[in-house]
């Protein structure tokens, strides 16, 4: 199921990056000529041939996608380097930031959601819900800006970026790793806020539904202590939902991660995606878009697998079909 989805997505991505009128080479030649420089015809011919820019649309698509599968993401016109070299660590840093954000969202949303559901209509419930709503309504990028400002005043550290400047372009080491961890909390908190708010609401609604069911009443009637009752039955039921909810959480986290990365100028995919879109550097932009889509699709696959592992009903049903 995953591969056809990815194929359709890759086609959509390719259509989008192809849509702007003209191709990059035309812009590039015009730019060079306007500066009075001569164009190296060999290079143009090489690029044209490499990407089949003079060939029909479908042929270009197949050239691109077959290269993509074998790890050749194309050539970035602006940097005059293969996309793979331009991208470098960025993709892994994006994965890291997104992963930590998901963990953060869970760690915050889960206890609050449980508290809100078990203390429905209490002051705590109202207060936490309101806080969650404000998190939902404040645009991510502004929260990032405000945090940047506050962190600058309070801590005086350089908050922008994901690591200390001296570790840039350095190979991975323990020091670099620690520096990344130190810098990561701001983007994680900022990106996580809106996702957390939504998640709290959904967990609360879901757990409330479970709490109304009869087996809870039966448990209570038989004298199970409330904590044990909650832990043993309704919570396990809503765990299912909790895992499957990653499907709606991931796209929003990745969206948020992009804008926040632009504001905080993190060395992830965000800022480069923006510039590549603006300069119509199509293969670079296409790689980023494709990669972000892949990240969500794989994330959903993982959540499906987790769900099957957690819930015997789903697992057994799947086996019966086979």
């Amino acid at each position: 199921m995953m591969i056809p989805t990815l194929l359709v997505i890759s086609f959509i991505v390719f259509v989008i990056i192809q849509l702007p009128p003209g191709d990059y080479l035309e812009t590039y030649i015009a730019e060079l000529e306007s500066q009075g420089e001569s164009v190296d015809p060999d290079k143009i011919a090489f690029l044209r041939k490499e990407y089949g820019l003079d060939q029909p649309f479908m042929v270009q698509y197949f050239t691109w996608i077959s290269g993509f599968v074998s790890g050749n993401f194309g050539y970035s016109f602006e940097y005059e380097l293969p996309v793979r070299d331009v991208v470098g660590d960025r993709i892994w840093l994006t994965v890291l930031v997104s992963f930590v954000t998901v963990l953060f969202t869970w760690a915050i949303a889960f206890p609050i959601g449980i508290y809100s559901a078990t203390h429905q209509y209490s002051w705590g419930d109202y207060g936490l819900s309101l806080l969650g709503f404000i998190g939902l309504a404040t645009p991510n990028f502004l929260l990032a800006l405000i945090m940047l400002y506050l962190a600058n005043i309070w801590f005086g550290t350089s908050i922008g970026g994901l690591m200390d400047p001296r570790y840039l372009d350095q190979p991975w080491s323990w020091g670099k790793f620690k520096s990344v961890l130190e810098h990561m909390w701001i983007p994680v908190v900022v990106i996580g806020t809106s996702g957390t708010a939504g998640m709290i609401r959904r967990i609360r609604a879901n757990l409330l539904d479970e709490l109304e069911k009869q087996y809870v009443l039966t448990g209570k009637a038989k004298g199970l202590p409330p904590g044990r009752l909650l832990l043993k039955y309704p919570l396990r039921m809503s765990m299912n939902f909790f895992i499957s909810d990653i499907g709606s959480l991931l796209p929003s986290i990745i969206s948020g991660a992009e804008v926040v990365a632009i504001v905080l100028s993190l060395p992830t995919t965000g800022p480069m995606l923006l510039t590549s879109l603006q300069s119509q550097d199509m293969y670079l932009a296409g790689t980023f878009l494709m990669f972000l889509a892949m990240l969500t699709v794989i994330g959903m696959l993982v959540s499906d697998l987790l769900l099957a592992w957690l819930d015997p009903r789903i697992r057994l049903q799947g086996e019966m079909v086979q």
Binding site: T138, P139, L145, I146, L250, S252, S255, Q280
Partner: protein
């Protein structure tokens, strides 16, 4: 002995036991729309948020009257002027609303301009006055304003930007675009959602599976990067107005999936209801069944979910314009205004420039609460 069977002398009334109270009768006889209204009214928060939304949209009709200045008027002597506070009392004496005039001086250390309120200069506001001239909705020329600064002075309630333009006026004008783009986007996406969801739900079969796959794929894509990519396509040569429509359509293109989904599932569920089967057995045509029996059944749900997806669009426009990929000046929206606050140094020096975020947060919250209330009320028989 033959005993006669007892029969009561009182006249027979079949409803004597089941008679309803006046309140119950009103409830059972009320139309669906009335029931929804009653249920919504019980949800206090939703009603308040509805009122706020109504007011906000109301102001966009008369932005020109509310704003004290035209949104492009530059006050070159008042660049980056901080917000001026509104006062009522001067030295313990009631004066009516007024501001203290600012004195400008150059700070020789930072080489920046500083504005200091001068407690001598009491500048009373004028009401229902003539000020900057403008074209009302771009058509009728006028210079009427609800509030103006005192003659020959200035009043910047929320400060000014780098060109000395009044931020309050700009936020008022920006509301028109930001709020309209939500409505415009939802109209397009409602159309798409009804059409595709309706097709999927009514025909079923392979049409359904194709549309279902399509929605799944679009939903699995992170929205914002795709929005960014699509709005980067819009040609630079387009006029700001065309860009506005382009952005509206782009926002809608990724948003219809949720609506299509709920239309489809509602259609599938309602199709199996008894009253639908009854209508079919009585020989009603599909067109009549859809219009007469199905549409009223899910219209309220659709309106509720549409309301809940408007804030996403408003946030989308704000984010795009903030990044410089969305609307372009001279069109002014909240996102365009926030674009000026992109730089951390600007925010540190002139924090009032991030004020446009306040109406954004209010509108998003109001739409969320109102939509929640609507969704609860949409099914009044529960």
């Amino acid at each position: 002995m033959n005993k006669e069977h007892y029969v009561s002398e009182a006249p027979f009334d079949p409803q004597s036991i089941e008679r309803m109270t006046a309140g119950q009768e009103q409830y059972y006889m009320a139309s669906r729309r009335r029931l929804i209204w009653w249920k919504l009214k019980r949800h206090k928060l939703a009603v308040w948020c509805g009122a706020i939304l109504f007011m906000m949209y109301g102001t966009t009709l008369i932005s020109e009257w509310i704003a004290p200045y035209y949104y492009q008027t530059r006050h070159t002597g008042h660049i980056y002027s901080p917000p001026q506070q509104l006062h009522l009392f001067h030295e313990g004496e009631f004066m009516g609303p007024f501001v203290y005039g600012n004195d400008t001086r150059l700070n020789m250390e930072t080489l920046g301009r500083e504005y200091v309120p001068n407690l001598e200069k009491v500048e009373k506001l004028r009401f229902f006055c003539s000020g900057d001239s403008y074209k009302f909705w771009g058509i009728v020329s006028s210079d009427f304003h609800f509030i103006c600064p005192a003659e020959g002075s200035t009043m910047f309630l929320l400060g000014t930007d780098r060109l000395g333009r009044d931020l309050f006026s700009r936020i008022t004008y920006g509301a028109r675009i930001s709020l309209l783009i939500g409505l415009g986007g939802i109209t397009v996406s409602l159309f798409l959602g009804l059409l595709l969801g309706g097709l999927a739900g009514y025909y079923g079969g392979w049409v359904d599976s194709v549309i279902q796959r399509l929605t799944e794929i679009i939903r699995s894509f992170p929205e914002l990067p795709l929005w960014m990519a699509l709005s980067a396509i819009l040609p630079v040569t387009w006029s700001p107005l065309l860009i506005f429509f382009g952005i509206t359509v782009i926002l809608a293109l990724l948003d219809w999936t949720g609506l299509a989904r709920s239309v489809r599932s509602k259609l599938l569920a309602l199709r199996e209801e008894d009253y639908c089967t009854a209508a079919r057995l009585m020989g009603a045509r599909p067109g009549r069944i859809i219009k007469r029996h199905l549409l009223p059944g899910f219209a309220s749900h659709i309106i509720a979910s549409a309301t809940l997806s408007i804030p996403g669009m408003i946030l989308g426009e704000t984010a795009l314009s903030f990044l410089g990929l969305g609307l372009r000046p001279p069109i002014t929206s909240w996102g365009v205004l926030l674009n000026e606050a992109q730089n951390i140094n600007v925010v540190a020096l002139y924090p009032w420039l991030i004020l446009p975020v306040v109406p954004v947060v209010i509108i998003i919250l109001a739409f969320n609460f109102f939509g929640d209330g609507l969704r609860d009320a949409a099914d009044p028989y529960k």
